[in-house]
């Protein structure tokens, strides 16, 4: 790609403001991207500590460290924080940093709103975390907050939880609007939709999904609010309501949410694998088409999360068939990544290692997903540790490994320094081992009959639980290496070239490293 950069473009702009004000008032997409990423890292570590508390309690049978009511608060908060505080903001952070650069835009389309959509988040999460210190404790009904456990039987702090979810929704919707406006309107001349990097494509679809489902989430928590405080009975059977309605509405949000958390990951991996295989992505067209059809098809399978609520037989069959049919076209995208590696010329720097682990482990998560789609078999898997294993395989070595891969991939561009490869590889191998030691035995636990969300368990589950807890601490502690590596990469290190990686292609690699505060104030010319 041939681009002409206006070398003096930064001279006319002004640099970042001095002091803390820079971060509060910034409208710069790079600053906001950085804020999102730090915030998400902080939340990742917070949610991680909760996970470690859970795993410490589950290390052996009996109640040792925490009481069941606190255990339930930990599982709930861990889920909410990881989904809404760690994974989603991390993807938005990467989008903020990379999308304007990838499409040759000077900034996001709506920079002030961008600032607002970030700064809502710290308040939303402070509000949510503060519930842990309230009388009666924080939310204790699981991240899926099924009614009536989350309405009639909830602790008083549930109202704060509802408002926190509302605020996260505002933030996500504004972020999504901004991303769509940027992609559709701010592309440099010649950057047609056909040339968009796959990360941009997947984010475009993700943003539409966000706008479609966040209001559904807001709606369902508002109905809860009405039930709790204003005497309605949406979910209260005693008043003529329907507790199952809650689950339908929740999963109508929840299933597309799954794609929201994995599509940008597909995008990142589709950037990284071609770079380190030194070969173009296999089947770019198929990837784009499959991704865009997900925007609609992901709304048709929500009730496969509810096979045991007593759906009528026809409903059960519909959701089983639809799930199986939809799984194939999205699942086989793994083949495209493998075909990209086939007859490439591969090297294995840290980002590539994380991307390869993503492909393997996400596929394992896909397999267990396929098994869960078989409704009669799902009766034996549903709400057991098998499900816990399944979605952690999709989300931890899936979404989170892709975020780490992306962070390592673009860090040299952000900081101007190469990262410490040795440390990066150490982080990778410890994480890889930790993740598998933690989550693989959970398949066995679930199949052997251990339900999820229990603070104590029967003796035959003791061995694998102990193994999983050891793995969790390996994984958790190895993240300190990640933090150290990021900080030392910001502080210094070998200077990065503009192209950074030998095989990298795309607009972002034509910019100097570190990328100047203002980029593409003159649109690049793309041939």
């Amino acid at each position: 790609m041939d681009t002409t950069l206006s070398v003096d473009s930064t001279e006319h702009g002004h640099g970042p403001a001095k002091g803390l004000g820079r971060w509060f008032f910034t409208t710069n997409h790079k600053d906001i991207g950085t804020l999102y990423l730090w915030f998400s890292l902080l939340m990742f570590l917070t949610g991680g500590c909760m996970a470690l508390m859970i795993r410490a309690e589950l290390f052996q049978p009996g109640l040792q460290l925490v009481q069941p009511e606190f255990f339930n608060q930990m599982t709930t908060m861990h889920g909410l924080i990881m989904v809404f505080g760690a994974v989603m903001p991390a993807f938005v952070g990467l989008a903020n940093w990379m999308i304007p650069i990838m499409v040759g835009a000077p900034d996001m389309a709506l920079p002030r709103m961008n600032n607002w959509s970030f700064w809502i988040l710290p308040f939303a999460f402070s509000l949510m975390l503060s519930t842990l210190f309230m009388e009666g404790g924080g939310p204790n009904f699981g991240w899926t907050f099924y009614a009536p456990l989350s309405t009639t039987y909830a602790p008083p702090s549930v109202t704060f939880f509802i408002f926190a979810v509302h605020m996260m929704g505002f933030s996500s919707i504004m972020g999504a609007i901004n991303i769509i406006a940027t992609i559709l309107n701010m592309r440099a001349p010649g950057m047609t939709m056909m040339k968009l990097p796959l990360f941009v494509w997947t984010w475009l679809i993700t943003a539409f999904l966000l706008i479609a489902v966040m209001p559904v989430l807001a709606g369902v928590v508002t109905m809860m609010l009405m039930d709790i405080h204003f005497g309605t009975s949406f979910f209260n059977a005693a008043g003529g309501g329907d507790p199952v309605l809650f689950q339908h509405v929740f999963w109508f949000f929840g299933h597309p949410e799954v794609y929201i958390m994995i599509l940008p990951a597909f995008g990142i991996v589709s950037e990284i694998i071609p770079t380190f295989a030194r070969k173009k992505l296999f089947g770019y067209a198929s990837m784009v088409y499959a991704t865009s059809s997900i925007a609609l098809l992901s709304f048709l399978v929500w009730a496969h999360h509810m096979f045991t609520v007593g759906l009528p037989l026809a409903g059960e069959l519909f959701f089983m068939y639809a799930t199986m049919l939809i799984a194939v076209p999205t699942g086989v995208k793994v083949f495209n990544w493998v075909a990209t590696m086939f007859h490439g010329s591969m090297t294995f720097e840290t980002p590539m290692l994380f991307a390869l682990a993503f492909v393997v482990l996400f596929t394992i998560g896909g397999f267990s997903g396929l098994m869960l789609a078989i409704a009669p078999a799902d009766f034996q898997y549903h709400d057991t540790y098998f499900v816990v294993a399944h979605f952690h395989y999709v989300l931890v070595p899936g979404a989170i490994f892709s975020i780490m891969a992306g962070a390592y991939y673009w860090l040299p561009k952000w900081t101007g320094h190469m990262l410490n490869e040795r440390l990066g590889k150490a982080h990778f191998w410890l994480s890889f081992i930790g993740v598998n030691v933690t989550f693989f035995p959970m398949h066995f636990l679930g199949l052997a009959g251990m339900p999820r969300r229990i603070p104590d368990y029967a003796l035959q589950f003791a061995d694998f639980n102990a193994v999983a807890s050891v793995g969790a601490f390996i994984f958790g502690l190895s993240q300190l290496l990640f933090v150290y590596n990021i900080i030392s990469c910001i502080r210094g290190g070998e200077r990065a070239t503009d192209q950074v990686w030998e095989g990298s292609h795309g607009l972002e690699w034509t910019l100097p490293s570190p990328a100047p505060y203002h980029t593409f104030t003159q649109p690049p010319v793309i041939k």
């Binding site: 047609t192 770019y284 067209a285 059809s293 609609l296 098809l297």
Partner: protein, 69 residues
């Protein structure tokens, strides 16, 4: 298929189908993306999804009928 508009609709439907199947060739993609308005593709896409739903419902009916339900 001499009528270009009719032809276009048919092509859009094929592309929507390709998207749902998850495979599309680079040549067809070039054609799709140079054909101007995306609106036609969006509409046919929604229509195809509706047809997909109807199709799965029919499949369920068939399965229940075969089982004598």
């Amino acid at each position: 298929m001499s009528d270009p508009k009719k032809n276009g609709l048919f092509k859009a439907a094929l592309s929507a189908l390709a998207a749902m199947f998850g495979v599309q060739s680079e040549r067809n993609r070039q054609e799709d993306f140079s054909s101007g308005s995306p609106l036609r593709y969006l509409l046919t896409g929604v229509l195809m999804v509706a047809l997909f739903v109807v199709g799965v419902i029919l499949l369920v009916r068939l399965a229940l009928m075969l089982a004598g339900g």
